[in-house]
């Protein structure tokens, strides 16, 4: 493992008696794109603001490129930041906005102008230099804000929900653009969002946060397929949770609603008689028996939602309901509510939540 570029070590933040971030740890590689994902109020912004220097940690330290920056002022950190509300200076033109950091740093005008033109090209708004912010759409303003943040070549780029004020289409195109600019410039980036699709689609790694802690840090693939905690499993993606009782710990037998499934090698440490939460992603379940799926449960069709190319079916198994998606095929009519049905899955896809 290479030396981390940004290292957040045992950081805690309290506002008066309330602790909003507790023992937060994260190492970010140079050039890596890490997202903070979590519900509202979990402390994402607070951690970001501590990295930016707007809040001082109550404990712990923040190291960038081997240098402890915990007590530095924001204007001494050489960090770029993009805000949710754009925060462009309304009295300055687009070019002056992008050049603000360069001017503050004392860059000669000719060099600054060249850099501004370069930035306008990167964000694909080359003709907009003389406009004022109020003459731009939200998406354009946010791109200018991005250009302004990266113009002074910061060591670190921080983005706090930069897309949440934009409409859905712009959101998708701009997040891809942010990602491609970030890759091209190789700038280490932290991206805060509460939109899981956003985080899954553009991050190298995701830190899922809950209650002021990082619940799990991992690649989108790991987070989605191997959630470490119940919270992560529930927060990221749709999840079907079934309660089960261990009947035979040695051979991995678990009883779910008076039917037995075998979860060999997944029970790590549970004893016979323990109750467990078992979770399955909708895409890991199919209707009916299929070769290669080693487990099955029977129940009754509870709901059928025709969504076009996909049919979402909810199957009642005892007291629990399980959602699954099947592809629509014109040859076979969808199942009817009330029919008996069997669902099958691989026991390997079953997540045991602790």
């Amino acid at each position: 493992m290479t030396e981390p570029f940004l290292s957040i070590q045992h950081v805690r933040k309290s506002f008066g008696p309330i602790t909003v971030v507790q023992d937060f740890n994260l190492d970010v590689e140079p050039g890596e794109f890490v997202s903070f994902l979590g519900p509202s109020g979990c402390g994402k912004t607070t951690v970001l603001r501590m990295v930016a220097g707007f809040e001082e940690p109550s404990a712990g330290k923040i190291v960038v490129a081997g240098k402890d920056i915990t007590r530095l002022k924001p204007n001494q950190r050489n960090v770029g930041m993009v805000f949710q509300a754009y925060a462009l200076f309304p009295n300055l033109t687009v070019a002056q906005n992008i050049g603000f950091g360069l001017k503050v740093a004392g860059m000669p005008k000719a060099d600054a102008d060249r850099r501004i033109a370069e930035m306008l090209d990167i964000i694909k708004l080359p003709q907009m230099g003389d406009r004022y912010p109020y003459q731009l759409s939200g998406g354009q303003q946010q791109r200018i804000a991005l250009a302004r943040a990266i113009a002074p070549k910061p060591k670190l780029l921080l983005l706090d929900e930069p897309l949440s004020a934009l409409d859905a289409k712009v959101r998708v195109s701009l997040r891809e653009e942010i990602r491609s600019i970030q890759k091209k410039l190789g700038i280490t980036t932290i991206f805060v969002t509460h939109d899981q699709e956003e985080a899954l689609s553009i991050s190298d790694r995701i830190a899922v946060m809950y209650g002021g802690k990082a619940e799990q840090v991992g690649t989108p693939f790991e987070i989605y397929n191997r959630p470490a905690t119940k919270f992560v499993a529930n927060f990221v993606g749709t999840l079907n949770v079934l309660e089960g009782t261990v009947t035979d710990a040695a051979s991995g037998k678990v009883r779910v609603n008076s039917q037995e499934v075998s979860l060999k090698g997944k029970l790590n440490g549970s004893k016979s008689g323990d109750t467990l939460s078992l979770a399955l992603r909708p895409e890991a379940i199919s209707l009916g028996r299929h070769p290669g799926r080693d487990s099955s449960l029977s129940g009754e069709i509870a709901e059928v939602h025709f969504l076009g190319s996909v049919i979402r079916v909810r199957v009642g198994i005892g007291g629990a309901t399980v959602s699954l998606d099947t592809f629509n095929s014109p040859a076979t009519p969808p199942p009817a509510v009330g029919e008996k049905a069997e669902i099958s899955f691989s026991s390997g896809d079953m997540l045991v939540l602790h």
Partner: protein, 263 residues
């Protein structure tokens, strides 16, 4: 509906008459100095009076200093309160309103007692000191207007986020105030400045009690001793005030537009 509009016009006409008739009468009277014909003689006399020129010049200068002092006090204060101590805003707002409640005469007597020539801070011991004290007193009188104008200006921008955006780009406090905050509240500051100007030009109590050669006492003096000139002076003073108000209106068209319109 129709009759509603009719009555609205009647009320408007009454209001306009209440306002304009005395004004027109004053104008008319001020032009009757020459017997039998309308003329601007009274205005000529006023403008030709060296005391008019001296006192008016003095008051304009005082107004300029008052505005500078007011801006230096109010802009950083209002900014800091919005940024760091929003919970103090009601308190500060109350303090800035005090000059409206406490009569100027009370303030000026306080000054005379506090800063007399044998007090530890003998402002009144010298010309310059007395002038400075007048400026300070005027800044106090103008405080409610100045503070309100600037605070309203600050409300139209996102002070905190703009400050942070500038900070993270490397700016210090000086740069933030001069390049980000002031330009965005400039129109508000100017309207505060013109209100201050209008107040200072006509102020009588403080100038008179501090024995300053200002325009207000001159107005009073002429008013007590002459017939037509006071009318002319009243019209002139009125024109100055109106000029200030129209300037505020014109300037507010140039206010930088807020760009916050998330779609």
């Amino acid at each position: 509906m129709k009759s509603g509009r009719f009555w609205a016009w009647v009320v408007f006409a009454l209001g306009a008459a209440y306002f304009f008739i005395p004004l027109i009468a004053t104008v008319e009277f001020s032009m009757r100095m020459r017997r039998g014909a309308y003329s601007f003689d009274a205005y000529k006399v006023v403008f030709g009076d060296p005391r008019f020129q001296a006192t008016f010049g003095y008051s304009v200068l005082t107004a300029v200093f008052t505005i500078i002092l007011g801006v230096l006090i109010v802009v950083p204060t209002a900014y800091w309160i919005r940024l760091r101590m929003p919970q103090l805003r009601p308190v500060v707002e109350f303090i800035t309103l005090l000059p409206l409640v406490i009569p100027a005469i009370v303030i000026v007597f306080g000054y005379i007692r506090m800063y007399g020539s044998n007090s530890p801070l003998p402002f009144l011991g010298s010309e310059t000191g007395a002038n400075a004290l007048l400026v300070i007193g005027y800044a106090t009188l103008a405080l409610p207007y100045m503070y309100r104008a600037v605070d309203t200006g600050l409300r139209t921008i996102d002070v905190r986020t703009l400050t942070e955006a500038a900070q993270i780009l490397g700016a210090g406090w000086g740069t933030i105030i001069t390049r980000v905050i002031l330009p965005n509240v400039l129109i508000a500051v100017l309207s505060g400045a013109f209100l201050t100007f209008a107040i200072v030009i006509g102020e009588f109590t403080m100038a008179s009690l501090l024995n300053r050669p200002a325009f207000g006492p001159y107005l009073q003096n002429v008013g007590a001793n002459r017939a037509y000139e006071p009318a002319a002076l009243a019209i002139i003073a009125f024109a100055i005030t109106w000029g200030c108000m129209s300037l505020i209106q014109i300037l507010s068209r140039f206010a930088p537009r807020s760009a916050n319109r998330p779609n």
